[in-house]
Symmetry: none
Subunit: 192 residues, 4 copies
Amino acid sequence: MSNTKDIILACARDQYLTDGYKGLSMRKIAEKAGISATAIYRHFNNKEELFHRLVKKGFGTYTQYLIPALDEPTAELRFKKTMANALNFILEQPKYFELIFVKSETKDELVNFDDLRIDSKISFDFYTARITECISEGYLKDDNPSEISVLLLAAYTGFFALYTSGLLPRSKADIEALYWRTIDRILNGVVA
Amino acid sequence: MSNTKDIILACARDQYLTDGYKGLSMRKIAEKAGISATAIYRHFNNKEELFHRLVKKGFGTYTQYLIPALDEPTAELRFKKTMANALNFILEQPKYFELIFVKSETKDELVNFDDLRIDSKISFDFYTARITECISEGYLKDDNPSEISVLLLAAYTGFFALYTSGLLPRSKADIEALYWRTIDRILNGVVA
Amino acid sequence: MSNTKDIILACARDQYLTDGYKGLSMRKIAEKAGISATAIYRHFNNKEELFHRLVKKGFGTYTQYLIPALDEPTAELRFKKTMANALNFILEQPKYFELIFVKSETKDELVNFDDLRIDSKISFDFYTARITECISEGYLKDDNPSEISVLLLAAYTGFFALYTSGLLPRSKADIEALYWRTIDRILNGVVA
Amino acid sequence: MSNTKDIILACARDQYLTDGYKGLSMRKIAEKAGISATAIYRHFNNKEELFHRLVKKGFGTYTQYLIPALDEPTAELRFKKTMANALNFILEQPKYFELIFVKSETKDELVNFDDLRIDSKISFDFYTARITECISEGYLKDDNPSEISVLLLAAYTGFFALYTSGLLPRSKADIEALYWRTIDRILNGVVA
DNA sequence: TATGAATGAGTATTCATTCAT
DNA sequence: GATGAATGAATACTCATTCAT
């Protein structure tokens, strides 16, 4: 429960959240943390490892956004709350979202990928579990639950990619409304 | 129509396509182009501008993938061909896709954003036009065409983001099949 | 007779023997010794002193290679056994040899040089003693024993310098044979 | 015939000659050369290459010391002049000698070793040629010329190793006289 | 148009060492 | 005796950019 380690991670996250990957340098992290650059190496072997831990923390944060949905009484409500929580994660932690879902620029750093895949699977499985119970409850068509997870996650991540790219130049409120209409279209189809 | 300018852009693109943004350096571009690093500055004021032009070219390439869909005889076929072409773009030009759709890492470079938004709008409008005529033809429900474009683009970009992140660990063939099933679910809905 | 002190020295030696002077760092020594880097400073004031002790130990080891030659019955045999033992030291402890005979790179560290010179003199005197008794016994010409020591040591160290530099690209077996032919030429001269 | 390149090499040599390998840093070389550290990389790809060129220059310098011996009229005189010139090289360029003959600390850097071996072979062959003609002329016993080269080079390099190690604590003049007596003993043997 | 030389700020990382505990 | 945390200086090297030619 080293405090400095957490501070470093927090600063690294903050720096990544504002400056992106390009701006993530040991020096700047250290400066933000109020320690020397070399002190970081007492806590992390190298930048790669530090970033890896950061991504792990990202997945952890995401999961913590999703889990409260389990408090809802029915499968349908749990599903909808999950989508709502996911939206909140996008809106409140946009760079964290990017870190864990987009991160194509930084894939090289993720050497120990199996390790992270497990983390990512947790959130993916959370979706699948929600969908499975929605099918059981008769709210969703009988279909392959994990593929529906893919559909929802794809729409979800794509939505964000478009949004942060500036290709969906709307206000937060508009985005929220559009998000729900989009979910609705997915649920009910667009074909006549 | 300076030849060297085009060569530089082509080399920058190649380098970006293989090494990602981190590997995009003036020096390496120059080396690939067989000129000196400083010679680049005859053609582009700085790296920012060069990258900007690169993104522009990315949009152009994407558009060129879409356009052949217009040869199809009916609105529905033109729509489906558009989705097929978009898939091909993903599979054949993954880094280009990333460059123009994901690129959150590089947003800083996009100073002249209005300029690029026009380019991006072209492809977005292409979708919208296809959807509009599908609605006219009665193939799709009467709905807001641009919002359906958003849905499709979101699913499309999200699909790719998941894929290149390694979060959809499937073969190209599997991805293609899954893509089509996903499109199908969007078209027909998943609610019972 | 602190145990940790000896362990540190042993680890420093091992590290030097494998990685050379460049690889001799307090951190790595500590890691090898299973203690913290700072713990070394309980036993040695600084790296300089530690290295100094290491060189001392090198001379000790060298002496231990030579001494068994005293078991031989005649001066000539003791002399020849000494040369044989010296060869073994080269072949079995190349880096140790380098440490104590070449070590020009590290002369700065040898602050307390008088101290080491005494150690080195012991082995030098061992040669001289062998030669003196060979002259007494009539095996060697009447000559200045210490200068003949210089000749033999020079040939000996030079032989090794050439060998480890890769300038004598031969196998161990070839080197051994060449060494003896070289000793022979020294003993008997090359002039017609 | 870039001037800066030569200046850099000269400064690197000077720095090596005074500070040894440990003190050979790009920064210090640059400082000595009056340029920025990075400017070095315009002329050498990296430290390894720079050092490699330095060693090459060392061999060249050594060869230039030896060659004038060819002006002597007889094989015996050419041989003796060669030994004299070699001594001068030791006395005048001690660190250069060390650089090219001892350099065990830096062998790792010599990746392109074949390249350097050719250079070193030139000087070795020079010895062998002198000895071969001495045998022809009847001055030296009929023997293997290259092995006698080894003997002489070994004695020569060993002599220096002992000298620079401080194990031969004599003045330059004494060293010179001792050197010649040593050569003499090699030529005529020490056995009674 | 193009080049070669140079720069200064930046990169990650290693090092010997100190200090409070 | 020993540790963990931290430091400041050093390391080799890369970068985008400028300038004189």
